[in-house]
Amino acid sequence: MAVHITLPESRKKSAVPDAPKHLVTPGDVITTDTGYMRGHGTYMDDDKLKASLAGVVERVNKLICVQPLKTRYNGEIGDVVVGRVTEVGQRRWRVDVNSRLDAVLMLSAVNLPGGELRRRSAEDELMMREYLQEGDLISAEVQAIFHDGALSLHTRSLKYGKLSQGVMVQVSPSLVKRRKTHFHNLPCGASVILGNNGYVWVSPTINDEKTESSGGYEQDLEPVPSTDREVIARLRNCILALATHKLLLYDTSVLYAYEASRQHQVKDLLQPDIAEKVADDTRQRLQMESG
């Protein structure tokens, strides 16, 4: 058992590369000009437009809104989310998606085993627990939003469904970049699902042929080999390093972080100074590619 010991050093202030332009706290006056439309995070007090959240003021033509720095996940239709089942109810499951309310997954919104197309019967209701229990992880898409803000999910495609072996990482929802696809089979030997809600799932590479007809009903419970396990652990630590240093998560940034981390041991990536180095290397490489 090795313990890594270093001499005392003063705490480093994390350097912010681009300082945000207009930071506000709740109650701050944004503007006294009445010509603007109020967006999210603002309210009118007398003739002044004030912020109701702590965040960055964004202005699009005549619309002023405040983007919060730290917030729960606010779902949009079409988002891919990774969630954990908290409750099995009547014809529905309640799923925790890091939002203000648990999302709902209706029985009619999942695929039946074998891909059958039929009306759900009473037996199906009783068999719900056979498919998803409390604690199970699923990947799903947001189908609709209820009036109270709760999300309605569906797993109507074969790529969604119950998740098998792997590791889940929780990051802030605002760090997951909106892309065309959130399912990535990385060349390093693992699959990553970047949920818009901040839940990231890292697992061994998913073979597309195997899951053709199962849609998550069959679970692969074979022991994962050590090489794959190392890749998964390394990816997990890289994702956490990027999240700690407030870098946006998408397939390219995760891959660059993985490559930057290869010179270190997997467990060393948990040390803050090494994590910072990996994050800095990734940021530099991304800036070089774009700039």
Binding site: M1, A2, V3, H4, P8, R84, T86, D96, D102, Q133, E134, G135, D136, L137, K162, L163, S164, Q165, G166, V167, M168, Q219, L221, P223, V224, S226, R229, E230, I232, A233, R234, R236, N237, Q265, V266, K267, L269, L270, Q271, P272
Partner: protein, 208 residues
């Protein structure tokens, strides 16, 4: 919303168990590796000694206050150590209200057991006047965040805090009537440190 700590799917649990068999945890550590530890001493100004320790997501703050008191009648030449552990409600959702008391008492008892042994800390060093006055060290442990491995973190923090404890040097003079007078040195650098070389650290091992 009910607490969702420690709820895992069967597949996730199996993945972890197989990992432990291969001596590779989900974060790449071997089974016997510790997470990153940060120790800072002398963080609380109005104490005789203090330490703040971060072990992964666990955050512990320990303060040591030295006061003069009377020794135990059965042990006239020894000082005393009193432990108080507070699992703050901020540390974990389970500690809401009085939920943290049970765990706090458990930790406190563990510390008492450790320090009741003579080989841990030489309590005779805390004696001022045998059967008269002695130093009583009040060790207050505050659990700011509970992210696992509480016992290990607490024992580390207590050792660090005791190491940083500075007791003013005591000068005992006998005045004219034969009464003993206790004087504390005014010099802030004229202090006595404790020998914490033999203070043990708790290592928690779990069987999966």
């Amino acid at each position: 919303m009910s607490s969702t700590l420690g709820v895992l799917s069967d597949a996730e649990r199996l993945f972890i168990v197989h990992g432990v068999q291969d001596d590779l945890r989900s974060d790449g550590r071997a089974c016997e590796d510790y997470r990153h530890v940060e120790v800072e001493t002398d963080v609380v100004s109005n104490t005789s000694g203090s330490a703040r320790l971060r072990l992964g997501n666990t955050d512990i703050l320990v303060g040591v206050k030295a006061e003069m008191g009377e020794p135990d009648p059965g042990r006239p030449k020894e000082g005393k150590l009193e432990f108080f552990v507070d699992c703050s409600a901020n540390a974990s959702p389970e500690f809401e209200g009085r939920g943290g008391e049970e765990l706090a008492i458990e930790v406190s008892n563990a510390l008492q057991r450790i320090f009741s042994s003579k080989s841990t800390l030489d309590l005779t060093a805390l004696c001022i006047i045998p059967a008269g006055q002695c130093w009583v060290l009040f060790v207050d442990v505050l659990v700011l965040e509970c992210g696992g491995n509480l016992f290990d973190a607490v024992s580390l923090a207590v050792k660090a805090a005791l190491f940083s404890t500075r007791l003013p040097t005591v000068i005992v003079t006998a005045d004219d009537e034969g009464q003993q007078e206790i004087e504390l040195s005014d010099d802030p650098y004229d202090v006595k440190r404790l020998d914490v070389d033999n203070v043990p650290l708790i290592v928690t091992l779990s069987k999966v």
